[in-house]
Symmetry: D2
Subunit: 349 residues, 4 copies
């Protein structure tokens, strides 16, 4: 793999708008790792790990339990295993990451729970869609897995954002139906940055029991935080985390990353940067090209094969979403001159 | 947790001989992480990850498949899942890490295989012990899980080393009995350093199918490598790794650590340093105190309660192994002056 | 629960057309159980169990391995566990019994495989539908479960029958795509009876690897047979059967039931009886009422609430399928005078 | 397999003292099956199944939940899955059926719990042995599976019986240690018959949470009952039973067997018959031959190879337990003249 250098680029063009997964870690995170490189207690007994609960309790304005893990798939699966029995069902969108991009991790961790899939615009669910899913299940009939958890993604897999009210409406439905509520927040920062609300508003105040809070896409090296608002769920999860091979022996390096991201609200600043870049691109693309409103750091656009080729010829890389469709992702490190160049290129199509 | 400073110490005394798990990452590893901090393909498609197979093939003098993971428990469990059906049995020592320190991870990953436990001095097994275990199973009887894998640890949980011949004898037994052969090499480097043999001699030449090659205890930040000598096992394992949440999105940071450790045989140099420190301590302790011959980087010694307190009062920390017993672990970063100080303190007991 | 007696009924009316699951066992089966009530080897080492392989090999005109189990869910799940790895996907209809009526048993037995659901008229799949499902999966991408098995039900959950040609077309697709092929034959007898073809034509000659051959709905007491055309799959399944608690200690009572059903093609005669009864009812209902062509022993009809109530008032019981829809099931023991009475009542609606 | 006829034998000699697993079903059970052979609600909604809770509540003198299953392995595994999380440990004897004869079913059903094995004479555990097992576990350390359940077998795999006091002592330990308590009662009837106590005394009054109450070895055709004294455990277990393929569609045939066995205390009468036969054999063998006191329906005796051959030459069959050891099992149907003949043959050795 080669990285052709280009004007205005720090890294070369290739893949720059391909995925936030591939971005570097931000300097503060690297510095925090270097700073944590001293002897300390192994696993999660170190000085950094021990600060996570209070740091996240501050952020969320209530007591929480916060466990580091190294991937979003692990965070999601551990959360779902805490919330769903093996004979339960997890309600989610048909395009949810837990359904289409985790190779069955939820099934593995829950001991074989079933995902029941709803359809909704922008990879979003709403109460009616969830009620429709519930209507397809014979409640209390032992021949069917019983609905146990609702899982949504915010921002969604299509870069859409659930508002606090939308989330709360789903949370209220969950409480009424005896469901637990999980939030896949791989891009939670982008949702909060978009809405300008408090993290609490999108989570426990809206009925969320557990949050997979993503940091890796947002400037971390490899760090996600599983936040339990129902704190009693944490105890068993600590065993499951070890049992799944996710209790790193030098866990301080994960905790230090996360703390660095929380410090001075770096997580939010990074998300603002990424969102703003996407907004500039969306403005350039114009409504006619947009497959989805751009609310976070992803843009789904209509581009012909020739247009896509033209953009790539200018050094911009991105993901082919389908015939005539492309996904462009910005990130904390999207270089302003690159973004401007791409915006201009899109305008010129 | 406080770290009192002390003469001759970089980190303060506390915990220095407690565990190699708690050691810092070595400078070359930190540098490699910084060096990998640029945009590249996500997951394991990056330039570093793509070099792993050839780097390990060179090291082992044959074609291998090498997959990074972030913990030894993940490496062991993925290896065992590749080698053992859910209705199979894994033969191992009663003190094996997979039995006593992984919270049932092998059972989780294999879908409920059973570990059958042998007893042997120094946490080592030999062919007779394994034959004894096999003798307790009615082969071909569907009422019993059937032996599928032998798993040994080298260096063992008691700091003992299997020679190439000892390993090969077990390997031959495995072949004769239709068993696969797994090697937990959390401290494989220490075993190789002790014996001065080729890595091949302790692995595939001795019949080993899969190796969990540890780097974290030996100077890594969080990186282990699962090495398949039976390369056909790798394909399904790549799915299982994802499914277990162990496919990091910025995998290049794991691969870069491992490549840095292989570079110039740093892994071996680090292990020599740790082993040598343990040897100095062992010499100071003298045979009468030693519960086990010291062959790698762990020393198990008899110390009275008063002696242990005396050592701790001088700032040395270590693990109480049992009544009147202590475990002291050296590592790649054991500070020579600290080691000398501890050796003197032990002599003075 | 009371069973009101009624004219022309052996059992009382209640539930008679509710489900073939609730029917009695046929006299030959009861006699066979009594005949097997003598001392013999436990588990499946008895004289009856040892005859299963040859009996089914005769029936299918090739060598097969045949294992009794006591439920269709167990047969299906053991078959799927033999055919699908835990990181695999099972392609089936959205209305398949394995998806909607087995409480996640396939997920449990496979260690968390995922069911991917197709839509097709009459709960039937065809090659285009399967290709559509395959098109939604990124083959070889470790982030997604990979298609491993196609499972169809014949006769389907809507009483429809796959012909030999239709089955073979799916089988050919499976071979081309590297999929295994499972047939849920809870009502296999009804399908064979409808088509008048050889059992081989609907199974291995059409590419089927494993068949869940149902006997319980068709006159058995509690006996199903898992038939492997890929005979190598049987060995591991025998362990899984025990491990799942499905190796009955007095297995001869299961084997004897099955052998009694095969004797003189009783299985086929019973299915003919049930199918003929359904056909008489379908004729009475007329095409306008039928939601599905009646090909086996189930009839799905449009009936208003008032009509349904009228039928029930006359003593006929059946299952409400949905608003304005009803399911009526005939069985080996449908009493001719009852069937005639119901046919007349339907005509009179 | 041939069954040579012999004087004084109903079935021929072969295997008569081999295992109670192989015995026929008793006539009342066969009659009950015939009597249940009429249309009724499927699964466990029929008239017989609905009577189980009250029948067992009467027997145990308190409210219980009672679920039929068709094997003891299923009963044990469902009980353990209800009592033990996947990261928990099940404490049991090294010779427990759940460890050595169920092909890992407990691991399968619990999602990979670990069995921790104690040694005790006669396959019995006592509080000191259990305390020893507990002492080997670091409580609250996430690296280790945590003790969750104690499982004992009464009568044991060596035909020994726990008294009510012995059971209660273990129950008290469980309560003190936060363990749940499971009783494998495959031969519970034989234990009750031996002690002459109330079923309540050996179960909930002694702290037992769940009982696998065996009927198959004691005259049933294929029927066991899982009895929950902690009735809240039943609800989830009903789903797990379906999910495991153990919810038979014609469940009335299981329930009817069990009710027939409870009727007039047939279960107890059958056990008395079997125990008495074993006692006669034990008396004939004399204390010197007995490897275990004979308390239930199994006798473990020292017999030389020549002696074993001599007995077999006379038509008696039994299980070779080990070099110079044999196991002889009596059952509800042990023919008195056969027992007398065997007693005489043993005396004559």
């Amino acid at each position: 793999m080669s990285f052709p250098a280009g004007p205005g680029s720090l890294y070369g063009f290739a893949m720059r708008f391909f995925s936030d997964n591939a971005a570097p870690a931000c300097p503060q995170v690297i510095a925090a790792i270097a700073g944590a490189n001293r002897l300390d207690t192994a696993y999660d007994g170190d000085a950094w790990s021990l600060r996570l609960n209070s740091a996240f309790s501050d952020l969320f304005e209530r007591e929480v339990e916060a466990l580091w893990v190294s991937t979003g798939t692990a965070a999601n699966s551990l959360a779902l295993a805490a919330l769903c029995p093996s004979h339960g069902a997890i309600l989610c969108h048909s395009q949810a990451h837990i359904q289409v991009d985790e190779c069955g991790a939820p099934e593995f961790y829950t001991g074989g729970a079933k995902l029941l899939l709803g359809e909704g615009e922008g990879a979003k669910l709403d109460p009616d869609i969830v009620k429709g899913l519930l209507g397809g299940i014979r409640r209390g009939d032992v021949h069917q897995v019983q609905p146990a958890v609702l899982s949504i993604t915010n921002a969604t897999e299509y870069g859409r954002v659930y508002t606090a009210d939308e989330t709360a409406a789903l949370g209220a439905l969950c409480r009424g139906e005896g469901l637990r509520f999980h939030l896949d927040g791989a891009r939670f920062a982008n949702a909060v940055a978009h809405l300008g609300c408090a993290p609490a508003d999108l989570t426990w105040k809206a009925g969320v029991d557990a949050l997979s809070f993503g940091f890796t896409k947002n400037g971390g090296l490899s760090a996600e935080c599983l936040v339990f608002f129902d704190t009693e769920l944490a105890a068993a999860t600590r065993y499951r985390r070890k049992r799944a091979g996710h209790l790193l022996s030098k866990g301080r390096f994960l905790a230090a990353q996360i703390l660095a991201m929380l410090e001075g609200d770096l997580w939010l600043a990074n998300a603002h940067t990424a969102n703003a870049a996407a907004a500039r691109l969306a403005e350039a693309a114009g409504p006619a090209r947009l497959l989805q409103p751009v609310e976070a750091n992803e843009m789904f656009v209509r581009v012909s094969e020739a247009e896509a080729a033209a953009l790539r010829a200018q050094g911009f890389d991105f993901y082919d979403w389908g015939p005539g469709e492309a996904r462009l992702v910005t990130s904390w490190d999207s270089v302003p001159t690159d973004v401007d160049a791409l915006a201009a290129a899109i305008r010129a199509l």
